[in-house]
Symmetry: C2
Subunit: 164 residues, 2 copies
DNA sequence: TGTACAAATGTTATATATTAACGCAAAGCA
DNA sequence: TGCTTTGCGTTAATATATAACATTTGTACA
Protein backbone atom coordinates (compact mmCIF):
# COMPACT_ATOMS: atom_id res chain seq x y z
CA UNK A 1 0.00 0.00 0.00
CA UNK A 2 2.85 2.41 -0.61
CA UNK A 3 2.17 5.93 -1.63
CA UNK A 4 4.15 5.49 -4.80
CA UNK A 5 1.31 3.44 -6.16
CA UNK A 6 -1.40 5.22 -8.02
CA UNK A 7 0.00 7.52 -10.59
CA UNK A 8 -2.07 10.14 -12.29
CA UNK A 9 -3.76 7.69 -14.62
CA UNK A 10 -7.07 9.10 -13.54
CA UNK A 11 -6.82 12.84 -13.14
CA UNK A 12 -5.87 14.06 -9.67
CA UNK A 13 -8.70 15.17 -7.35
CA UNK A 14 -8.22 18.92 -7.62
CA UNK A 15 -6.80 19.05 -11.11
CA UNK A 16 -7.18 22.25 -13.12
CA UNK A 17 -9.58 21.15 -15.76
CA UNK A 18 -9.55 24.45 -17.64
CA UNK A 19 -5.83 23.95 -18.13
CA UNK A 20 -6.57 20.37 -19.11
CA UNK A 21 -8.89 21.54 -21.89
CA UNK A 22 -6.53 24.29 -23.03
CA UNK A 23 -3.70 21.80 -23.19
CA UNK A 24 -5.72 19.37 -25.27
CA UNK A 25 -6.73 22.08 -27.72
CA UNK A 26 -3.19 23.39 -27.95
CA UNK A 27 -1.94 19.89 -28.70
CA UNK A 28 -4.64 19.52 -31.34
CA UNK A 29 -3.69 22.84 -32.94
CA UNK A 30 -0.06 21.84 -33.00
CA UNK A 31 -0.69 18.39 -34.39
CA UNK A 32 -2.95 19.68 -37.14
CA UNK A 33 -0.54 22.45 -38.08
CA UNK A 34 2.28 19.95 -38.25
CA UNK A 35 0.35 17.55 -40.46
CA UNK A 36 -1.44 20.10 -42.59
CA UNK A 37 -4.85 19.11 -41.25
CA UNK A 38 -7.63 21.65 -40.91
CA UNK A 39 -9.01 21.94 -37.43
CA UNK A 40 -12.07 23.91 -38.47
CA UNK A 41 -14.38 25.74 -36.09
CA UNK A 42 -16.84 22.86 -35.84
CA UNK A 43 -14.14 20.27 -35.36
CA UNK A 44 -12.41 22.33 -32.73
CA UNK A 45 -15.67 22.98 -30.91
CA UNK A 46 -16.58 19.29 -30.93
CA UNK A 47 -13.18 18.46 -29.52
CA UNK A 48 -13.63 21.11 -26.83
CA UNK A 49 -17.06 19.74 -25.91
CA UNK A 50 -15.63 16.25 -25.62
CA UNK A 51 -12.91 17.55 -23.32
CA UNK A 52 -15.51 19.33 -21.22
CA UNK A 53 -15.09 16.51 -18.72
CA UNK A 54 -13.44 13.13 -18.40
CA UNK A 55 -16.59 11.18 -19.12
CA UNK A 56 -17.39 9.72 -22.52
CA UNK A 57 -19.59 12.00 -24.60
CA UNK A 58 -22.43 10.75 -26.80
CA UNK A 59 -22.71 11.90 -30.41
CA UNK A 60 -26.25 13.13 -29.93
CA UNK A 61 -25.28 15.18 -26.89
CA UNK A 62 -22.68 16.86 -29.05
CA UNK A 63 -25.37 17.37 -31.63
CA UNK A 64 -27.68 19.06 -29.12
CA UNK A 65 -24.93 21.37 -27.97
CA UNK A 66 -23.75 22.30 -31.45
CA UNK A 67 -27.30 22.68 -32.62
CA UNK A 68 -28.17 25.01 -29.73
CA UNK A 69 -25.10 27.13 -30.46
CA UNK A 70 -25.49 27.44 -34.19
CA UNK A 71 -29.19 27.02 -34.80
CA UNK A 72 -28.49 24.35 -37.37
CA UNK A 73 -26.70 21.02 -37.21
CA UNK A 74 -27.72 17.55 -38.24
CA UNK A 75 -26.19 14.19 -37.34
CA UNK A 76 -23.66 14.31 -40.20
CA UNK A 77 -22.30 17.57 -38.84
CA UNK A 78 -21.23 15.84 -35.67
CA UNK A 79 -20.30 12.48 -37.15
CA UNK A 80 -18.06 14.11 -39.73
CA UNK A 81 -16.27 16.07 -37.07
CA UNK A 82 -15.89 12.90 -35.04
CA UNK A 83 -14.54 11.02 -38.05
CA UNK A 84 -11.92 13.68 -38.52
CA UNK A 85 -10.94 13.71 -34.85
CA UNK A 86 -10.79 9.93 -34.70
CA UNK A 87 -8.71 9.79 -37.84
CA UNK A 88 -6.32 12.35 -36.44
CA UNK A 89 -6.07 10.41 -33.19
CA UNK A 90 -7.40 13.32 -31.17
CA UNK A 91 -10.32 11.37 -29.75
CA UNK A 92 -11.17 7.74 -29.19
CA UNK A 93 -14.44 5.90 -29.41
CA UNK A 94 -15.49 3.78 -26.45
CA UNK A 95 -17.21 0.95 -28.29
CA UNK A 96 -18.94 -0.47 -25.25
CA UNK A 97 -20.63 2.88 -24.59
CA UNK A 98 -21.02 4.31 -28.09
CA UNK A 99 -19.36 7.43 -26.81
CA UNK A 100 -16.20 9.46 -27.29
CA UNK A 101 -13.34 10.66 -25.12
CA UNK A 102 -10.41 12.94 -25.76
CA UNK A 103 -7.08 11.24 -26.34
CA UNK A 104 -4.68 12.03 -23.53
CA UNK A 105 -1.83 10.36 -25.38
CA UNK A 106 -1.19 8.18 -22.34
CA UNK A 107 -0.75 5.24 -24.67
CA UNK A 108 2.01 6.93 -26.66
CA UNK A 109 2.73 4.79 -29.66
CA UNK A 110 0.72 1.73 -28.58
CA UNK A 111 -2.98 1.01 -28.90
CA UNK A 112 -5.28 2.90 -26.55
CA UNK A 113 -6.59 0.95 -23.56
CA UNK A 114 -9.22 2.32 -21.23
CA UNK A 115 -10.18 2.04 -17.60
CA UNK A 116 -13.80 3.09 -17.18
CA UNK A 117 -15.25 3.66 -13.74
CA UNK A 118 -18.88 2.64 -13.64
CA UNK A 119 -19.47 4.80 -10.59
CA UNK A 120 -18.15 8.23 -11.64
CA UNK A 121 -17.94 7.30 -15.31
CA UNK A 122 -14.50 8.83 -15.70
CA UNK A 123 -12.21 7.27 -18.24
CA UNK A 124 -8.44 6.97 -18.14
CA UNK A 125 -5.98 5.46 -20.57
CA UNK A 126 -3.67 2.70 -19.43
CA UNK A 127 -0.12 3.76 -20.30
CA UNK A 128 2.76 1.51 -21.14
CA UNK A 129 3.27 -1.52 -23.33
CA UNK A 130 2.67 -4.37 -20.85
CA UNK A 131 -0.85 -5.24 -21.95
CA UNK A 132 -0.02 -4.85 -25.63
CA UNK A 133 2.91 -7.20 -25.15
CA UNK A 134 0.76 -9.84 -23.52
CA UNK A 135 -1.74 -9.58 -26.34
CA UNK A 136 0.96 -9.71 -28.97
CA UNK A 137 2.33 -12.92 -27.43
CA UNK A 138 -1.08 -14.56 -27.36
CA UNK A 139 -1.89 -13.46 -30.90
CA UNK A 140 1.42 -14.77 -32.15
CA UNK A 141 0.66 -18.21 -30.73
CA UNK A 142 -2.13 -18.55 -33.26
CA UNK A 143 -0.35 -16.76 -36.09
CA UNK A 144 -2.61 -13.75 -35.83
CA UNK A 145 -1.33 -10.34 -36.97
CA UNK A 146 -2.70 -7.57 -34.77
CA UNK A 147 -3.58 -4.24 -36.28
CA UNK A 148 -6.21 -2.86 -33.97
CA UNK A 149 -7.14 -3.28 -30.32
CA UNK A 150 -10.36 -2.42 -28.52
CA UNK A 151 -9.62 -2.67 -24.82
CA UNK A 152 -12.17 -1.28 -22.40
CA UNK A 153 -11.95 -2.28 -18.78
CA UNK A 154 -14.94 -1.53 -16.57
CA UNK A 155 -14.79 -1.32 -12.81
CA UNK A 156 -14.39 1.07 -9.91
CA UNK A 157 -11.67 3.69 -9.68
CA UNK A 158 -9.64 4.26 -6.54
CA UNK A 159 -11.44 7.43 -5.62
CA UNK A 160 -14.91 5.95 -5.90
CA UNK A 161 -13.80 2.88 -3.95
CA UNK A 162 -12.41 5.14 -1.22
CA UNK A 163 -15.66 7.10 -1.10
CA UNK A 164 -17.62 4.10 0.16
CA UNK B 1 8.54 -20.89 -36.37
CA UNK B 2 8.01 -24.26 -34.80
CA UNK B 3 5.03 -26.37 -35.70
CA UNK B 4 3.92 -26.45 -32.11
CA UNK B 5 2.79 -22.88 -32.55
CA UNK B 6 -0.74 -22.29 -33.69
CA UNK B 7 -3.21 -24.23 -31.66
CA UNK B 8 -6.80 -24.50 -32.68
CA UNK B 9 -7.72 -21.03 -31.51
CA UNK B 10 -9.29 -20.43 -34.87
CA UNK B 11 -11.09 -23.50 -36.08
CA UNK B 12 -9.05 -25.89 -38.20
CA UNK B 13 -9.39 -25.65 -42.00
CA UNK B 14 -11.54 -28.69 -42.55
CA UNK B 15 -13.35 -28.75 -39.26
CA UNK B 16 -16.72 -30.44 -39.06
CA UNK B 17 -18.95 -27.48 -38.52
CA UNK B 18 -22.11 -29.51 -38.13
CA UNK B 19 -20.49 -31.22 -35.19
CA UNK B 20 -19.37 -27.83 -33.98
CA UNK B 21 -22.99 -26.62 -33.91
CA UNK B 22 -24.29 -29.82 -32.36
CA UNK B 23 -21.67 -29.56 -29.65
CA UNK B 24 -22.57 -25.98 -28.86
CA UNK B 25 -26.27 -26.81 -28.62
CA UNK B 26 -25.58 -29.86 -26.49
CA UNK B 27 -23.50 -27.76 -24.12
CA UNK B 28 -26.28 -25.20 -23.98
CA UNK B 29 -28.87 -27.87 -23.22
CA UNK B 30 -26.68 -29.27 -20.46
CA UNK B 31 -25.92 -25.91 -18.93
CA UNK B 32 -29.55 -24.84 -18.90
CA UNK B 33 -30.70 -28.15 -17.47
CA UNK B 34 -28.09 -27.87 -14.76
CA UNK B 35 -29.07 -24.36 -13.79
CA UNK B 36 -32.80 -24.66 -14.27
CA UNK B 37 -32.87 -22.22 -17.17
CA UNK B 38 -35.36 -22.60 -19.95
CA UNK B 39 -33.80 -22.89 -23.39
CA UNK B 40 -37.03 -22.28 -25.27
CA UNK B 41 -37.53 -22.91 -28.97
CA UNK B 42 -36.79 -19.31 -29.94
CA UNK B 43 -33.73 -19.07 -27.73
CA UNK B 44 -32.36 -22.33 -29.00
CA UNK B 45 -32.97 -21.34 -32.60
CA UNK B 46 -31.25 -17.98 -32.13
CA UNK B 47 -28.29 -19.75 -30.60
CA UNK B 48 -28.22 -22.18 -33.52
CA UNK B 49 -28.32 -19.32 -36.02
CA UNK B 50 -25.46 -17.60 -34.26
CA UNK B 51 -23.44 -20.79 -34.43
CA UNK B 52 -24.23 -21.15 -38.12
CA UNK B 53 -20.72 -19.89 -38.76
CA UNK B 54 -17.78 -18.40 -36.91
CA UNK B 55 -18.56 -14.86 -37.95
CA UNK B 56 -20.35 -12.39 -35.70
CA UNK B 57 -24.09 -12.26 -36.38
CA UNK B 58 -26.11 -9.05 -36.39
CA UNK B 59 -29.36 -8.82 -34.45
CA UNK B 60 -31.32 -7.83 -37.53
CA UNK B 61 -29.99 -10.76 -39.52
CA UNK B 62 -31.30 -13.00 -36.77
CA UNK B 63 -34.55 -11.10 -36.94
CA UNK B 64 -34.86 -11.67 -40.68
CA UNK B 65 -34.20 -15.37 -40.31
CA UNK B 66 -36.58 -15.87 -37.40
CA UNK B 67 -39.17 -13.73 -39.08
CA UNK B 68 -38.94 -15.73 -42.31
CA UNK B 69 -39.31 -18.98 -40.40
CA UNK B 70 -42.21 -18.03 -38.18
CA UNK B 71 -43.99 -15.34 -40.13
CA UNK B 72 -43.91 -13.09 -37.12
CA UNK B 73 -41.06 -11.70 -35.03
CA UNK B 74 -40.23 -8.17 -34.02
CA UNK B 75 -36.98 -6.78 -32.61
CA UNK B 76 -37.88 -7.66 -29.00
CA UNK B 77 -38.21 -11.29 -30.01
CA UNK B 78 -34.56 -11.39 -30.95
CA UNK B 79 -33.22 -9.03 -28.31
CA UNK B 80 -34.92 -10.96 -25.54
CA UNK B 81 -33.42 -14.19 -26.76
CA UNK B 82 -30.03 -12.50 -26.99
CA UNK B 83 -30.38 -11.11 -23.46
CA UNK B 84 -31.06 -14.58 -22.18
CA UNK B 85 -28.14 -16.11 -24.05
CA UNK B 86 -25.77 -13.36 -22.97
CA UNK B 87 -26.88 -13.68 -19.38
CA UNK B 88 -26.34 -17.43 -19.51
CA UNK B 89 -22.90 -16.90 -21.02
CA UNK B 90 -23.82 -18.87 -24.14
CA UNK B 91 -23.04 -16.00 -26.49
CA UNK B 92 -20.91 -12.87 -26.40
CA UNK B 93 -21.48 -9.48 -27.90
CA UNK B 94 -18.71 -8.00 -30.02
CA UNK B 95 -19.06 -4.35 -29.07
CA UNK B 96 -16.97 -3.03 -31.92
CA UNK B 97 -19.24 -4.73 -34.44
CA UNK B 98 -22.62 -4.70 -32.69
CA UNK B 99 -22.82 -8.39 -33.38
CA UNK B 100 -22.90 -11.68 -31.55
CA UNK B 101 -20.83 -14.86 -31.49
CA UNK B 102 -21.29 -18.17 -29.75
CA UNK B 103 -19.18 -18.72 -26.66
CA UNK B 104 -16.67 -21.47 -27.21
CA UNK B 105 -15.65 -21.39 -23.56
CA UNK B 106 -12.05 -20.87 -24.60
CA UNK B 107 -11.68 -18.27 -21.89
CA UNK B 108 -12.80 -20.68 -19.17
CA UNK B 109 -13.32 -18.70 -16.00
CA UNK B 110 -11.70 -15.45 -17.19
CA UNK B 111 -13.12 -12.62 -19.23
CA UNK B 112 -13.66 -13.34 -22.91
CA UNK B 113 -11.08 -11.89 -25.30
CA UNK B 114 -11.49 -11.99 -29.06
CA UNK B 115 -9.31 -12.17 -32.12
CA UNK B 116 -11.26 -10.91 -35.13
CA UNK B 117 -9.91 -11.40 -38.64
CA UNK B 118 -10.88 -8.47 -40.81
CA UNK B 119 -10.36 -10.55 -43.95
CA UNK B 120 -12.49 -13.65 -43.31
CA UNK B 121 -14.32 -12.11 -40.34
CA UNK B 122 -13.92 -15.22 -38.25
CA UNK B 123 -13.71 -14.75 -34.52
CA UNK B 124 -11.78 -16.80 -32.00
CA UNK B 125 -11.44 -16.48 -28.27
CA UNK B 126 -8.02 -16.06 -26.70
CA UNK B 127 -7.65 -18.73 -24.04
CA UNK B 128 -5.61 -18.53 -20.89
CA UNK B 129 -5.06 -15.97 -18.17
CA UNK B 130 -1.98 -14.12 -19.49
CA UNK B 131 -3.76 -11.08 -20.84
CA UNK B 132 -6.08 -10.84 -17.86
CA UNK B 133 -3.07 -10.95 -15.58
CA UNK B 134 -1.35 -8.12 -17.42
CA UNK B 135 -4.51 -6.05 -17.21
CA UNK B 136 -4.98 -6.82 -13.55
CA UNK B 137 -1.43 -5.64 -12.84
CA UNK B 138 -1.91 -2.39 -14.73
CA UNK B 139 -5.29 -1.74 -13.11
CA UNK B 140 -3.86 -2.35 -9.68
CA UNK B 141 -1.20 0.27 -10.25
CA UNK B 142 -3.91 2.91 -10.30
CA UNK B 143 -6.08 1.32 -7.64
CA UNK B 144 -8.72 0.30 -10.13
CA UNK B 145 -10.96 -2.69 -9.39
CA UNK B 146 -11.77 -4.60 -12.57
CA UNK B 147 -15.15 -6.18 -13.01
CA UNK B 148 -15.61 -6.32 -16.76
CA UNK B 149 -13.35 -6.47 -19.78
CA UNK B 150 -14.09 -5.74 -23.43
CA UNK B 151 -11.15 -7.01 -25.43
CA UNK B 152 -11.48 -7.20 -29.20
CA UNK B 153 -8.34 -7.54 -31.26
CA UNK B 154 -8.63 -6.90 -34.97
CA UNK B 155 -6.16 -8.15 -37.55
CA UNK B 156 -5.43 -10.96 -39.97
CA UNK B 157 -5.60 -14.62 -39.07
CA UNK B 158 -2.93 -17.11 -40.06
CA UNK B 159 -4.99 -18.68 -42.80
CA UNK B 160 -5.83 -15.39 -44.49
CA UNK B 161 -2.23 -14.26 -44.21
CA UNK B 162 -1.11 -17.50 -45.84
CA UNK B 163 -3.63 -17.05 -48.64
CA UNK B 164 -1.87 -13.92 -49.95
C1' DT C 1 -7.59 38.46 -59.59
C1' DG C 2 -10.22 35.22 -61.25
C1' DT C 3 -11.06 30.52 -62.04
C1' DA C 4 -10.93 25.65 -61.08
C1' DC C 5 -10.62 22.05 -58.09
C1' DA C 6 -10.90 19.91 -53.64
C1' DA C 7 -12.48 19.93 -49.08
C1' DA C 8 -15.94 21.01 -45.83
C1' DT C 9 -20.54 21.80 -44.59
C1' DG C 10 -25.78 21.97 -45.14
C1' DT C 11 -29.80 19.30 -45.83
C1' DT C 12 -32.98 15.63 -46.35
C1' DA C 13 -33.81 11.13 -45.90
C1' DT C 14 -33.04 6.61 -44.39
C1' DA C 15 -30.74 2.62 -42.34
C1' DT C 16 -29.47 0.22 -38.29
C1' DA C 17 -29.65 -0.75 -33.31
C1' DT C 18 -32.08 -0.94 -29.01
C1' DT C 19 -35.60 -0.38 -25.55
C1' DA C 20 -40.31 0.73 -23.35
C1' DA C 21 -44.79 -0.53 -22.35
C1' DC C 22 -48.70 -3.35 -22.27
C1' DG C 23 -51.48 -7.44 -22.75
C1' DC C 24 -51.95 -12.34 -23.53
C1' DA C 25 -50.55 -17.11 -23.13
C1' DA C 26 -48.08 -20.87 -21.41
C1' DA C 27 -45.41 -23.12 -17.74
C1' DG C 28 -44.50 -24.21 -13.11
C1' DC C 29 -46.06 -24.57 -8.54
C1' DA C 30 -49.12 -24.51 -4.23
C1' DT D 1 -57.56 -25.92 -9.93
C1' DG D 2 -56.18 -21.54 -9.28
C1' DC D 3 -52.25 -18.51 -8.65
C1' DT D 4 -47.99 -16.62 -10.01
C1' DT D 5 -44.12 -16.20 -12.80
C1' DT D 6 -42.03 -16.23 -17.08
C1' DG D 7 -41.99 -15.85 -21.88
C1' DC D 8 -43.84 -14.03 -25.96
C1' DG D 9 -46.65 -10.88 -29.37
C1' DT D 10 -47.33 -6.36 -30.66
C1' DT D 11 -46.96 -1.45 -31.19
C1' DA D 12 -44.37 2.33 -30.65
C1' DA D 13 -40.64 5.09 -29.56
C1' DT D 14 -35.84 6.16 -28.90
C1' DA D 15 -30.88 5.88 -29.95
C1' DT D 16 -27.09 5.46 -33.14
C1' DA D 17 -25.13 6.04 -37.68
C1' DT D 18 -24.79 6.66 -42.74
C1' DA D 19 -26.18 7.71 -47.77
C1' DA D 20 -26.79 10.94 -51.20
C1' DC D 21 -26.80 15.23 -53.14
C1' DA D 22 -26.64 20.42 -52.99
C1' DT D 23 -24.05 24.41 -51.61
C1' DT D 24 -20.35 26.86 -49.79
C1' DT D 25 -15.65 27.67 -48.45
C1' DG D 26 -10.83 27.29 -48.85
C1' DT D 27 -6.63 26.80 -51.62
C1' DA D 28 -3.74 26.68 -55.49
C1' DC D 29 -2.39 28.22 -59.50
C1' DA D 30 -2.89 30.29 -64.21
Amino acid sequence: MSDTFGQTVFEAPGHDHDACIRGALARADALCAERGLRLTAIRRRVLELIWDNHRPTKAYDLLSAISAERGNAAPPTVYRALDFLLEAGLVHKIESLNAFVGCDAGHERGHPKFLICRRCEHVAEIPGPAVDSAIAREAERSGFTVDHETIEIGGICRRCAAAD
